[in-house]
Symmetry: C2
Subunit: 150 residues, 2 copies
C-alpha cells in the first residue's frame, strides 16, 4: 500500500516517463480514483469529483482515464457490463482475455479446476462459480504488433 505522497510521486514519475503533462485535472482524477476502491466507472468518478471540482468536464475525465490506462498507470477491469457477451457453456471453465482485441478464449485445465474458494469468502457470500482469468495479448495481436513496426 502506498501513502499519499508516494502515490503522488509515482503518478508524476509515470506521467513524465510517458511524456504526459501534469495538469490539475489529471492529478484530481488520479487521486479520486485511488481513493475509491469500488472499481468505479467513469460516471461514478465524475459524480465524486464534480461536487468539488465542477470545472472538470466529463469528456476530459473520460479521455484522461483512457490515457492513464494506455500508459499502464491504472487498469480497466473486466465486468458484467451493459454490453453483454453470452455463452451457452454453463459449466466452469477458464478464460484468456486479449486486452487488445478483447477476444475471449476458453481453455480447460484440470489443475486450475482444483482451486478452492477461501473459507472466509464461502461463509460470507453465496458462491455460484469460479474461474481463472488470464490477461494476455493474443497471437494475432502480437503479429500485428510486429508488422506495425516499432
Amino acid at each position: 500500500m502506498m501513502n499519499n505522497n508516494e502515490r503522488l510521486e509515482y503518478f508524476k514519475e509515470q506521467c513524465r516517463k510517458h511524456g504526459l503533462k501534469i495538469t490539475m485535472q489529471r492529478l484530481i482524477i488520479y487521486q479520486a480514483l485511488a481513493d475509491d476502491r469500488s472499481h468505479p466507472c467513469a460516471d461514478d468518478i465524475y459524480q465524486r469529483i464534480h461536487r468539488e471540482y465542477p470545472n472538470i468536464s466529463y469528456d476530459t475525465l473520460n479521455r484522461t482515464l483512457l490515457t492513464f490506462s494506455r500508459i499502464g498507470l491504472i487498469k480497466t477491469i473486466s465486468h458484467h457490463g451493459p454490453k453483454r457477451r453470452f455463452d451457452t457453456v454453463i459449466a466452469d471453465h477458464h478464460h484468456l482475455c486479449c486486452i487488445r482485441c478483447h477476444k475471449i478464449i476458453d481453455f480447460e485445465s484440470e489443475e486450475l479446476d482444483q482451486i478452492t474458494v477461501p473459507d472466509r469468502i464461502k461463509d460470507k457470500y453465496t458462491i455460484l462459480g469460479k474461474k481463472v482469468v488470464i490477461e494476455c495479448i493474443c497471437d494475432e495481436c502480437m503479429k500485428k504488433d510486429k508488422k506495425g513496426g516499432k
Copy 2:
C-alpha cells in the same frame, strides 16, 4: 459436449421448466449461440442470424438473450466492454463479482496467488496477468432476496 439433439432437448426442457413458450425465434437464437464459441455480443449474434432469418428483430434477440440468462440457460460473461471500470491497483489480486448488483470486491489470497499458467498457454500467448474470479451473490443482495419474500 452435447450433440444437436441433446442440446435441443435440453433447451426445450429448460423452457418448459421455467414456463417459457417455445417459439421459432427462441430456437434459432439458442442454436446460433450454441454454434458460436466466441462469446458473442448481441450484435454478433444478430449479424449471424439476420442473413438467414431476416424477420427476427434485434429487440427480440436482446430480450430473448436476457430471458435465457435469467433462467440460467446461458451465461453472461465478464469482459472489458465499452463501459469501462477502473482500478489504480496494478498488482494482481482476485475478484469477487456479484451477479445481481455487479459489485466487484477485491480479495487477497496467498494460496490463489500461487496458481500457474499452463505451459501450452504461456508458449502461445503473451501473459500479462492472472486472477481468480468468483461469481457470487453478495451479502447485501442476499438480504434483499430474503426481505423480498418468495
